[in-house]
């Protein structure tokens, strides 16, 4: 009964991981063949290379923007739309709607939104005069704004997921708690920090874990919005794009690609270790 699952997991997760660790220390010629062992310090070489460091930096910046902003917007909107207002269902539908978009759908919507000549933002005059960069050279074409723009598209695409999760667990917060605290004179802000946040803690931690992992795996947004550019500089080349992107400098070098993939795994493992420790410490709150 275990055989089907064990076979698939072994063949497509365990074996490739082990093989990637082996391939990652191989050096290949310019055509990507005739690979031979180069020693396991090749991992160190890859990690310390300018290209990998730049990709790591881009990935970390992306994480630092998307995780706090995504969490803030998700929780903020969920709390805002939690009150007994007439028509709140409409707003909830609107805020959840981005869950229906895949990476490709969301990224293409933003590609059109940010496109510098016929794009949507470029056609609104007052926004253009405030931010001339939208038309020249374009938010995705300017090295300073490209990565934050990719991050915005990511936050937007993830908003529905965060909003739905937080809204769902907000319903589990007993109203009696809020009512009793309000009777005792607690303000809305106090109740938010003393009642809502502690009771939501497990959900919030889960959201942070998912958003962080997602940020470190960012590929589709970069592939569709910037191709890892703008060049030179490649300010939006994330680690995943560095490994798998067709415009990446290592696109035809299997040894370095496998090595980069293993490094990504090690970094994510390190992150989940940190998060599990944090989780262990915080669950007593829930």
């Amino acid at each position: 009964m275990l055989a089907p699952s064990a076979f698939i997991l072994g063949l497509f997760i365990v074996y490739p991981l082990g093989r990637a660790v082996w391939l990652g220390q191989q050096r290949c010629n310019a055509f990507g063949d005739q690979c031979r062992s180069n020693g396991f310090d090749q991992y160190l070489d890859i990690f310390t290379s300018n290209e990998f460091q730049s990709a790591l930096r881009a990935t970390i910046i992306l994480t630092v923007i998307t995780v706090p902003l995504g969490l803030f917007l998700g929780v903020g909107l969920a709390v805002l739309a939690d009150k007994h207002l007439r028509g709140v269902g409409f707003f909830r539908t609107a805020f959840s709607s981005t869950i229906a978009t895949s990476v490709a759908v969301a990224s293409l919507m933003w590609l059109f939104l940010l496109q510098p000549s016929v794009g949507a933002l470029a056609n609104i005059d007052w926004i253009n005069s405030l931010f001339p960069v939208i038309k020249d050279p374009g938010l995705l074409q300017d090295p300073d704004t490209a990565l934050p723009s990719v991050a915005m598209s990511s936050v937007w695409a993830g908003l529905g997921f965060t909003f739905i999760l937080v809204t769902a667990s907000l319903q589990g917060v007993p109203r009696e708690l809020h009512e009793a605290a309000a009777v005792d004179g607690a303000t809305g802000t106090m109740r938010f920090w003393k009642i809502t946040v502690p009771l939501l803690a497990p959900t919030l931690i889960f959201v942070v874990i998912v958003l962080t992992t997602r940020a470190f795996q960012t590929f589709g947004e970069v592939d569709l919005l910037t191709n890892g550019g703008p060049r030179p500089g490649n300010s939006t080349t994330t680690i995943t794009y560095f490994v798998y992107g067709e415009a990446s400098v290592i696109a035809s070098d299997p040894g370095l690609q496998a090595g980069g993939a293993v490094l990504l795994f090690v970094i994510l493992l390190f992150l989940s270790g940190l998060q599990l420790r944090g989780l262990g410490r915080r669950t007593d709150l829930g």
Partner: protein, 322 residues
């Protein structure tokens, strides 16, 4: 694009009493709940909600407007819905190949979902009820695969799929080589995702939550393992199965990295890798790309509207039981 609703009863932290939460509060006969904002605060809150809604829906609005505008009008003013045509949608469907991509994605997502429900039930059952040597080690090995991201394995999986798997021994019927269909095949899109540790643990937990005498009683009645799963367990764990199925379907449908690597023939693309091709080969025709995007988004929108309830369960399953 705007019609996915958050179901009012929410499992979340209190999955069992979801029904209670959906009822209006006891003081519903009053005009205001005690914490309902009124006066200026009420107005301020509505204003804020409206502004944010406009901002969130703006990319959707621009997409839909441009998808239904004739190409000549689109270039003049892409933001105003002053003319309407289905020509661009039609073009995306036929020469943009979206019809074919939708078919491929549907086949792939349904195959993966069906297979994962079955493999998860079987392995979840094995971990929940069977005692066998090495059980603990296998259990932790399954658990460990949860830590390995797709991005770390895709590279070698590409090679496995491309050249097939050559076994060091010969199996009856199969021989010593499993071909997996090669690049651009349905098998290539499906096979690596036939089973997951996530599904295994989700089903194991659901099966363990069943009353413990149930398995014993079934055994005394002479019901075997598969009989128990089919006739006793499946009807009881149906909500978890439905959540797993929806979650798996969405993940399979939304795959981007894998199909864009292993597909290089136009007709073999899924919706996601097909959109990629459409976008990269029509940079000068954003309205055609937007039309493709609209077509690609609609099926998932319909699925989400039908299965709203399972969605929250599926999303929170990871939080509660992952």
């Amino acid at each position: 694009m705007t019609d996915v609703r958050v179901p009012a009863p929410a499992p979340g932290t209190a999955a069992s009493d979801g029904d209670e939460a959906s009822k209006p509060p006891a003081w519903g006969h009053r005009t205001h709940a005690w914490d309902e904002p009124h006066g200026w605060r009420r107005f301020g809150r509505y204003a804020l909600l409206v502004v944010i809604t406009v901002a969130v829906l703006f990319p959707v609005y621009t997409t839909v407007v441009s998808a239904f505008k004739p190409s000549d009008k689109f270039l003049v003013n892409p933001l105003v819905p002053d003319s309407f045509t289905l020509d661009v949608i039609r073009e995306a469907w036929t020469s943009g190949n979206l019809g074919r991509y939708l078919f491929n994605s549907t086949v792939v997502a349904i195959a993966i979902t069906t297979a994962q429900v079955v493999t998860s039930l079987l392995s979840g059952y094995a971990f929940a009820y069977l005692r066998f040597p090495g059980r603990k080690i296998v259990f932790y090995a399954f658990l460990a695969t949860l830590l390995v991201p797709l991005e770390a394995t895709v590279f070698v999986n590409f090679q496995t799929i491309e050249s097939g798997l050559t076994l060091p021994f010969s199996l009856p019927l199969i021989g010593d080589h499993i071909p997996f269909g090669g690049l651009n095949s349905f098998q290539a899109l499906i096979v690596p995702f036939l089973a997951t540790a996530f599904g295994t643990f989700l089903m194991r937990q659901a099966l363990l939550d069943l009353p413990s005498d149930l398995r014993e009683a079934a055994r005394l009645d002479g019901i075997g393992h598969l009989g128990f799963i089919r006739h006793v367990a499946v009807p009881l764990v149906r909500p978890t199965l439905a959540a797993l199925a929806l979650f798996t379907f969405l993940s399979a449908w939304n795959q981007y990295l894998w199909p864009s690597l292993i597909i290089n023939e136009a007709d073999a693309n899924t919706v996601q890798s097909g959109l990629r091709v459409l976008s990269k080969s029509n940079l000068d025709q954003p309205n055609l790309v937007m039309a493709g995007t609209v077509i690609a988004a609609i099926p998932i929108l319909i699925v989400l509207i039908i299965f709203q309830k399972q969605l929250v369960r599926g999303l929170t399953a990871g939080a509660v039981k992952g």
